[in-house]
């Protein structure tokens, strides 16, 4: 032991230097890394039309993160591209989707202004050009995603500091030109949800409220009925984000306010009109107004014939000066003329313009573009009041991601309510052509802006895609209760959505972001550790037993042979 000491001391010093160097290298490498981040994500809708698949066909995600700055030509089949809407290159996405290029998944980051749970955003009503561009991009993206079949998971998330930090890291990594795969580490995005299942026979719920008119004793005939109808459900790229503030939240709000105004009038026998009022909140609007169809079918013939006319409210929350009345009977028709004149008279007084649009129905075409067409198909006079000048395509203008609270102007809804309520009242009380203001401002019958605002806020926070609303969803119960407050009799009708559409669940999930080390790193670490242990072993053997012992350790087998020999 004493002999080995001088050599041992030198060894100690040398190994200490190397140890210290190792320590410093390790300390230099270490960055303080954050723990796993969890982000709320909303899945792109998955649905079939007559068996043809559309939308995102997968929900499970377990891939490395990549950004748009990936190295050209790299294999992205195991990479989730994180694309912020602000940097979206729509032609790139279009190319990838239409050419069926392999991708691990897509994660779109939407600016906070589109967040439905963000109550602050309602306050910032002014829109900048940048926002306008974002909205156009988003609308285009949504259209593309809804109408394509995408064989990998597509998710939406909202920008926040955590995910932004991850994205910045990913970009930095991509900028070095190495694709993020198992060999280089980086971030791993994991969404573990069960396989999306079909929604078995999705129900649609129609709610109707009756406000019966005054029947004098001598009247043998049934009173005529005026129907006011709005469809309340939505369809959008992300079902959990599809609130449709304008389409058709604005119509629902207007309908509730009109019901409230007429309930005040009808509560007094003196001002009770000689018309029944029928308020209908229908579901299935995006699917060719399937709910309206079912609802009308459930009436008996007499009831249906008693309907004088129906006014459908659709997207009336973001217009400035022009509204359109869409009809499917020729404008020369006496009823149509009467309705249109009633509306345009009031519109003139309100200082807005109302135009008439005629679109013929093609019975053989299953597409029903406007809600009134369902009435017209059953020979009930009906018109749709809307800010849209042309009929939307299937699944268009039904509550897209863009269609949130900031898009809607309360003043526009108030004007619409005035227009509809005033012209209806003049028709009911026979004041047509006269300049009487029944719902004048500051009177007891004035339109209530705070009522409109609160309902609009509620609708703008409630996703309402019909297949994902249960029969007793709190929102449906709230609508029912509100109509019960304003009308005499409320009926709720549950129907099954007709067969053409199939929907799949798992609309929202949690995305876990993990920072992972690569296999290469672990291999390297194993090598370093192995050599560390070997060095330690040799060092200890040399210091405690001497160098000869260490050498003899490796020579032992032959020496043993010599001994046995």
């Amino acid at each position: 032991m004493a002999q080995a000491k001088p050599g041992g001391e030198r060894q100690v010093l040398e190994s200490m230097y190397s140890m210290i160097a190792l320590v410093f290298i390790l300390v230099a490498c270490v960055e303080l890394c954050d723990a796993a981040t969890v982000v709320d994500v909303y899945r792109l809708i998955q649905y079939d039309i007559s068996g043809a698949p559309f939308g995102s066909r997968l929900a499970n995600l377990n891939h490395h993160a990549g950004s748009l700055h990936f190295a050209p030509g790299s294999d992205l089949s195991r990479t989730v591209l994180i694309i912020p809407l602000r940097e979206l290159n729509i032609s790139f996405v279009k190319e990838y989707i239409t050419q069926n290029q392999p991708l691990g998944g897509l994660l779109f980051l939407l600016p906070q202004i589109f967040n439905i749970e963000n109550r602050e955003r309602a306050k910032s009503n002014h829109q900048t050009d940048g926002e306008e561009l974002l909205k156009n991009d988003l609308a285009e993206l949504e259209k593309l995603l809804i109408h394509s079949k995408i064989p990998y998971p597509v998710y939406f998330a909202f920008e926040d500091d955590d995910i932004e930090a991850v994205l910045a890291d990913v970009k930095r990594n991509d900028a070095t030109g190495q694709p993020a795969t198992a060999t280089t580490g980086g971030y791993k995005l994991v969404v573990s949800v069960p396989e999306p299942k079909k929604r078995a026979s999705p129900t649609i719920t129609n709610i109707q409220g009756w406000l019966s008119g005054l029947k004098t004793d001598g009247d043998a005939n049934q009173l005529p009925t005026i129907a006011i109808v709005a469809s309340y459900d939505t369809f959008g790229a992300a079902p959990a984000l599809s609130v449709g503030s304008d389409s058709n939240g604005s119509g629902v709000v207007a309908l509730l306010e009109i019901a409230r105004l007429f309930s005040v009038l009808y509560s007094n026998p003196k001002t009770r009109g000689r018309y029944n009022l029928l308020f209908g909140l229908t579901s299935g609007g995006p699917y060719n107004y399937n709910g309206t169809h079912k609802w009308l079918r459930s009436f008996d013939q007499r009831q249906r014939e008693s309907i004088d006319y129906a006014i459908c409210l659709n997207s009336i929350g973001s217009w400035d000066n022009d509204l359109w009345i869409h009809v499917s009977k020729p404008p020369e028709n006496a009823y149509i003329k009467q309705i249109f004149e009633g509306f345009s008279n009031v519109a003139e007084e309100l200082g807005v313009k109302v135009g008439l649009k005629h679109k013929k129905i093609n019975i053989s075409n299953p597409r029903v573009a406007w809600e009134h067409e369902q009435f017209s198909r059953l020979r009930v006079t009906a018109a749709t009041l809307s800010e849209l000048s042309v009929a939307p395509e299937l699944l268009e203008s039904t509550g897209s991601l863009v269609d949130g609270r900031p898009l809607v102007n309360e003043a526009a809804i108030i004007k619409s309510v005035k227009l509809v309520a005033e012209s209806l009242a003049r028709h009911i009380y026979g004041h047509e052509g006269k300049n009487v203001q029944i719902f004048a401002d500051n009177s007891s019958l004035a339109v209530n802006p705070s009522y409109i605002k609160s309902w609009l806020d509620l609708l703008s926070q409630t996703p309402r895609v019909a297949p994902f609303l249960s029969k007793n969803d709190p929102f449906i119960l709230a609508l029912k209760k509100e109509l019960e407050d304003h009308t005499d009799e409320v009926n709720v009708q549950h129907e099954v959505l007709d067969g053409m559409f199939t929907f799949y669940d798992s609309t929202r999930a949690s995305l876990n972001v993990y920072q992972v080390a690569s296999v290469t790193f672990d291999l390297l670490l194993l090598l370093v550790l192995g050599s560390y242990l070997i060095v330690l072993f040799s060092f200890l053997v040399i210091t405690t037993r001497g160098l000869d012992d260490l050498i003899s350790l490796f020579r032992r087998p032959p020496s043993r042979k010599v001994k046995t020999a």
């Binding site: 320590v23 993990y514 672990d522």
Partner: protein
Amino acid sequence: MTVFHFFNCAILTFGPHAVYYSATPLSEYDTLGTSVKAALVYLGTALVKLVCLATFLKVSDNESFDPYQEFLKALIGFIDVAGLYFALTQLTHRNISQNHKFQAVGLGWAFADSVLHRLAPLWVGARGLEFTWDYILQGLEANANLVLSISLAALGSLMWLRKNKPKTLIPIIYTCAGIVATMPSITSYLRRGLGWHFPEVVGFQLFTSLVMAFISWQLFAACQRPSA
């Protein structure tokens, strides 16, 4: 891959103990029994420490550094020294030299500490998908702890077992033993009082453990010289 990482961290945490045992003459003299006994003593000490901590310390809500509490903690930390004293002097060992005895005790002591404090977090954490440097650092900390335990055992055996040591060295031995024994409190102070991060603390621990090991080696050698 993550099991791989766990494997790596486990090697780093427990490998040096095995290597130390097999590389030094400890394995030749079959001192495993001594190490096991020391580990058992460690378990008992840890239990006593736990009871003391629970009895005398307030549970602080925040992570701030309270000098009085830390002082108490350091005092309780000296229970370790008592445990080590018991392991070194009271346990009846087989006839092994002092040289090997303190090494065996220190090794068992450090191994029990590693198993008790690091195995469970490692098993739970290092197999997760998320990568952090924490478990590698924890492994390095285990290494530092091994060196410190053996140094402390060496100093302890100098204090309690060796009778004819040079007078001049006695104060140095006691100071060093004191420093090594208060090491947990010092690191805790660095972490909470000065707000050092884990990597820095581990670096400091590795550095001081090597320095202390070197000093205690020199002291041991110096004490051995007259007898040799």
